[in-house]
Symmetry: C2
Subunit: 338 residues, 2 copies
Amino acid sequence: MPRNIDVDTYAEGVLAGSRATLARAITLVESTRPEHRDKAQRLLARLLPHAGGSHRIGVTGVPGVGKSTFIESLGTKLVGAGHRVGVLAVDPSSNRSGGSILGDKTRMGALAAEANAFIRPSPTAGTLGGVARATRETIVLMEAAGFDVVLVETVGVGQSEITVAGMVDCFLLLTLARTGDQLQGIKKGVLELADLVAVNKADGPHEDEARRSARELRGALRLLTPPNTSWKPRITTCSGLNGAGLDELWQQVLEHHAALSAAGELAEKRSRQRLEWTWELVRDQLMSELLGNPRVERTREEVEQRVRDGEVTAGMAAERILRAFRADGSGRAEDSSA
Amino acid sequence: MPRNIDVDTYAEGVLAGSRATLARAITLVESTRPEHRDKAQRLLARLLPHAGGSHRIGVTGVPGVGKSTFIESLGTKLVGAGHRVGVLAVDPSSNRSGGSILGDKTRMGALAAEANAFIRPSPTAGTLGGVARATRETIVLMEAAGFDVVLVETVGVGQSEITVAGMVDCFLLLTLARTGDQLQGIKKGVLELADLVAVNKADGPHEDEARRSARELRGALRLLTPPNTSWKPRITTCSGLNGAGLDELWQQVLEHHAALSAAGELAEKRSRQRLEWTWELVRDQLMSELLGNPRVERTREEVEQRVRDGEVTAGMAAERILRAFRADGSGRAEDSSA
């Protein structure tokens, strides 16, 4: 990170579409240092009026479903059609498991080499909340830099699909051919988040099987409530490998966009997402203040020990910690009873 | 809820094993009203020295895997062997989807009729945090009432498996026969939480298939880090329908308990769980204080409107809300700039 970060220079560089400045700006929003956070917020405020102009598309699916090949194939096709495509990732496990998605740009070598594509691996900041914040802010940067398609890839770990669905316009679930009882294998909550489902690897001998799966999935999806009243989730087949079905899939993305826009739901969805994001930030910040409070720091060890030893209930221990936090400047005397 | 709740009478009733008092005490800990919370904490403090004496076992698996039949079958067998068995559920969706687990006690009619069994449906308090709190506190009550096996059922919605794994000694994943690529269908995070995995419905023509699945699962599990160093997850087959494999499975629960106890890990695990629970309560309570703060209440609507309209970044809006909260009694002047 450069020592002297000038917000104006960053803003102008991003708006002019400079890849180098965009990369540095992303590094800035990924930083958790207070002085960087402050500059990042000022940069985002400058760029906000220029953001919002992309198709924000989330892509999820279990490991092995072919997400990288799919994204490279779709991204290259879109760049060929004149789009500017950004690819981001949300993988809170990337700093632990070593199996990070997008960790290795060479996995999308052809797309990475395109002048009108920009691939950014998942930040390795740690918590899902931290990774999500950086990714949401990076979407703003990419839009201000003129990218009109932003693909956000996620691996299905814990809450990450819910998090990504909360920052995109359209959420795409990639799956493999499976029938009957095996449909239970798809995380039910994820199917409910999906605007589009694509049975991938529909190539060669697997094509028929994929089509059969898509039919069965359509039946299953009819049982679930669609996430938007103006849109019923669509199921297609595609092949990231040979490109089959990608045109049709992109057509569905556009139809989804048109349907939501016509109903006024796209603006409503984005505004609801911004609001949810705000409250997430409030929650995270509040807890870090509590944890950094000197009175809490002094009480913490003893309270934790008594909880560990089973001497006090969790409820009582929590109350004690909260009293220590509240007492700080609130004028109330600290109650030191357990 | 009775008007006059006497904590001493409740405590004595629970310790004497009165089913009626236990039921009322559970209703008390499920309540979110401040005067009930206060009494609940005092009741729990009274009972805490008498708690801890049960095998706490979590049971998860996708809908259709046969959890109810399995629990009824295992529970009835354990009651027959002289155990006192409590069955609880964590289903944060029960008040929304209508497909509540344990919502209908008749699903476990035979077990519910046993004098030494106590079945309590999931509280419908709303958030996962609220449901989890009530369930954790109910485990304390049941143990104080002399139950020595507590089964906590959960349906795999969102974070609920992680939550339940965080309140039990032993986490059991029920699954169905599946092979090869289909193993990807099991939520990876859940397999990592499991101490025991049982391929259910291993009866009649499905028995061979179940055994083959168990073998493949053993291979897959070898790739994952075991949650406790002194325990490698075991995989068996069973049938909730005809009871096959249940004795062996219970034997594994006992072996797991013995292995963890011998290594000092059981006490360590429970003490870590109590600590995590404490911090969860701190987080929840802190947010409800912020939301109930009059200054935040006054600012909230305007800030939310500006976020919805895209006039301010989420980061700035969050800072504004936090300033309103901090200003309350902290002596700092409220900064009313956006």
